[in-house]
Symmetry: C2
Subunit: 545 residues, 2 copies
């Protein structure tokens, strides 16, 4: 019966009446326009890709509104399932796949501090602030669960804008912190939101609170384990079958298997009601550490760019979508009866976001600095300000969660729900546009050295996509070197010497990885060490760790 | 309003209830299983990938049937729109993108003879045969339009099985004929089917016939022009913007633009009610000739494999889907009351297919041989038998067209419609399984030299996907050479000498291409000529033509 329902749905949506053909044409053409215009504005001082897509979406929304005479209110409905099932997975998977694993795991404690503890602090402050101030604004009868949901909704940051400006080669620590925090924050806020929704919060006591924490931890751990398992399974299958040895289909098979298994991990997490975001993130990390090294060179190039491109398209799609959705008339009509309240709520939420973020970035940075010994690992004040700024933007995750919470029971026309939806949209638009426009100038002011690098054209012979964090330590060029496989990575005296100070958890993990994991699941060890190549440094870095 | 309807649909299908999550998991897992099992059976003498997917689909269908107690008849409904809008475009685009253009255009006349004229002959024979014999079987009241539709439905071949066995380096002429005929045949039969549906065929006179032919030609030419235009537009945009020169996003942008514009061409053709198959095929040819050369090296590797992988997944998806759909109980229940008639219809159709194909392959081969001068260009008898055999299989196009014709007006429970649907499924299953299983042995018998090549493992250092026709004349390795751009291709005396005999339409096209088209749209001319490289011959071939 399940399959039947699925097929029925498929046949509903895939019926190609004229209307949907027109809108698909429109949407694909808009996506192309966003890419082209985003490219043309690349060197602009203020604008970035997300803002372009958001503005184009807004303009299209206005255009459609005028075409239909302002009548149809439900022209653009934000579908959170479209977002959570089709658009978010490629973005998060790509984040895991392209993350510089060593940087990520070396800063793991700090990233978890910011991403998990920091999000919890921000969640508490926004929730408490909302409880305290909203009663004075008299916007209707929100329950305790609603206030907690508001906390989770506005704790979900969107650091895409800042990542587009930061240069990860100049400020690797800062980049990995902002990047890592963004991903962990996404997962934390969604898991938090789910945990809140699963519980009856009308009377909170110690048992409920403990259950809430237990649920949170269960979701966190089970999702991670599932993601790691899926990644290892794909590595094992591809290594055992060794597709490369056969003539036909090898690359296509490998690419298809990697894409399908990544998606399968996401859908399995959905099936078990886990946090699919965390699952697919860790699946991406494991796949890039093991699976990616077991495939042919052309598969490596292809998968790397396929995941990046999917993520890129999904990002543009989301901003375009949010921009088009922002003009849904009906909810604005309800709100327009009390514009002052709506503005009040939005400003209050923005203020809470600013405070809530400051309340953990600076103390936690201080804490993190206390634990670090070397000066280079400490987070300077300017960097702290950048981290604070990077997490001020709110994006599609907030909108999706807000829709889920405030349109869930079908009571969309209640005033308090309409106000919360429109306030969320206002906060997202304002923070993305206003804060987003100021990001480039601000980062250049705080970290002046990045200015000239931004406008430096790459040599035309090796243009590469640097927008996503490059695959860890020069794996990027493995297909270009190619050829010799199975050769153990050679070591030099310098590498051995510089390895000594770096012992720790990571060191024992490397030993375990080399002696137990890699013989079973494959992984790096195929790329020869080429002295003097531009990759020397990063390869060196890798072998030492 | 159009956009509204689209969004409403989106939100309907993207609502992630538990049922659809379960079935998506099932489907993705089955796709993975097909890939893995298909790989394991690669060296099997009989089985190929399509047959594997079909059998797995059948088994899953049986399993679901037993799970639901045989009750639910509409568990699996074949959606022709899913097929025509999402599965067919990547397959046909990839065919155009990966075709060896020179071989294709050198044999253009023969391919068009087989693909267009041959399909028309086959269509006439099957239609006339059906009109003549079906009346004796007494299967109900089919109209003249139905008989013509049957002709079009069973003229659509599926040469995937044969292409998987043929070796295009050993028998380039044969391969390009079978491959080219397959694509043109797909387009011809769909265009024919559309033309038949657009006309009132209750009383055929000369005017109607002329209109039918006019409609057919209009669809053919307009679709081709649209595809060429879309391809040239993408080449122009990417050349003008030159994404490669910038640091960020260049590869992702290029890949995204190519994929989106290819899909846009398909959707535009749908919008204008043209033949989207032809449009996307020519868009693929133009993109591989111009656009593909304007992008960075990594984009080239990526797009090549992305299109091949999408096509690969879509193919497996289709066979899996057809296999699962074959067991829709309801239509079999109606037919089971008169099993003899159903078997009679299926056998008759199979016989008509065999005759209809023989009736054009051998005469047209004779005609084609008359026009060719050199012995190597002529089609030998063994090759003619192979071509005949290659087009005996019927596939998803037939099923999709049959569903369109015989379930169109909602009268699915009419006996004649049920018989036609089940007969189509029987013919597809029988021809794919029985003829498909015999293809490998037959081809090895007829073309014995291909046997040892099939089982020859490719060198592990450069495993490449050879299932799809490789990109014309060594373009494949352009990313590996890379570097120097804009250098005009050098010419040698040998090349000049061997160019002389080859003049013709192709020669003048090359002149026009080099002097008018390439300066505007970019294209080849970036890859340096490397003497002594394994590509020498093909590069040489290219420059001469």
């Amino acid at each position: 019966m399940a399959v039947g329902a699925f097929y029925h749905k498929l046949s509903t949506v895939f019926t190609s009446d004229h209307a949907s053909v027109v809108s698909m044409n429109l949407f694909v053409a808009l996506l192309c326009a966003c890419i082209i215009i985003g490219h043309l504005l690349e060197e602009n001082r203020w604008i970035n890709e997300s803002i372009t897509a958001l503005l184009i979406g807004l303009c299209t929304g206005v255009f459609i509104l005028f075409t239909t005479g302002g009548k149809s209110s439900h022209i653009l409905v934000f579908s959170e399932d479209l977002f959570f099932i089709y658009l978010l997975p490629p973005i998060i998977f790509n984040a895991g796949f392209q993350v510089k694993k060593k940087q990520f795991f070396l800063n793991f404690m700090t990233i978890m501090l910011f991403g998990a503890i920091g999000t919890l602090i921000s969640f508490c402050i926004i929730s408490l602030g909302a409880i305290h101030f909203f009663q004075k604004l008299d916007i209707g009868s929100l329950k305790i669960g609603d206030f907690l949901a508001i906390g989770a909704i506005f704790s979900a940051t969107d650091s895409v804008c800042t990542l587009q400006v930061l240069n990860q080669d100049e400020t690797p620590l800062l980049y990995s912190l902002v990047f890592g925090e963004g991903v962990v924050n996404d997962a934390t806020s969604v898991v938090l939101f789910k945990a809140i929704q699963n519980f009856d919060l009308s009377h909170i006591d110690l048992t409920t609170a403990l259950q809430l924490i237990g649920n949170f931890l269960y979701l966190f751990i089970a999702s991670t384990v599932l993601g790691v398992f899926a990644g290892l399974l794909s590595a094992y299958i591809i290594k055992k079958l060794y597709f490369g040895k056969l003539i036909r289909h090898s690359t296509d098979r490998e690419v298809a298997l990697m894409v399908l298994m990544a998606y399968l991990s996401y859908m399995l997490a959905e099936l078990f009601s886990l946090s699919a975001i965390l699952t697919v993130f860790f699946c991406g990390i494991v796949m890039s550490h093991y699976t990616w090294h077991n495939v042919t060179e052309s598969s490596r190039v292809t998968t790397k760019h396929v995941f990046a491109t999917l993520s890129f398209i999904a990002e543009i799609f989301i901003f375009l979508y949010v921009g088009m959705d922002a003009l849904d008339i009906e909810k604005w009509r309800i709100v327009s009866q009390s514009p002052r309240k709506s503005i009040g709520v939005s400003s209050l939420l923005l203020a809470l976001i600013l405070v809530g973020r400051a309340a953990f970035v600076f103390p936690l940075s201080f804490l993190s600095n206390l634990l670090k010994k070397s000066q280079s690992e400490k987070i300077e004040l300017k960097q702290q300000v950048t981290i604070w700024w990077a997490g001020l933007m709110r994006g599609a995750v907030s909108i999706a969660l807000a829709y889920n919470q405030f349109t869930r029971l079908g009571h969309t026309k209640l005033r308090e729900n309409a106000i919360m939806i429109t306030s969320t949209i206002t906060v997202v638009l304002f923070s993305t546009l206003a804060f987003g426009l100021m990001t480039k100038p601000l980062v250049r002011l705080l970290l002046p050295s990045s200015r000239h690098v931004m406008s430096l054209p790459s040599p035309p012979s090796t243009p590469k996509s640097l927008t996503v964090p490059l695959l860890g330590s020069g794996e990027d060029s493995s297909w270009a070197n190619g050829g010799t496989q199975n050769g153990p990575p050679p070591s030099t005296l310098r590498m051995l010497l510089s390895c000594i100070p770096n012992r720790g958890v990571h060191h024992y993990w490397r030993k375990f990885d080399n002696s137990v994991m890699r013989p079973v699941f494959g992984g790096r060890g195929f790329v020869p060490y080429v002295p003097g190549s531009p990759l020397e440094q990063s390869v060196h870095q890798w072998h030492c760790s």
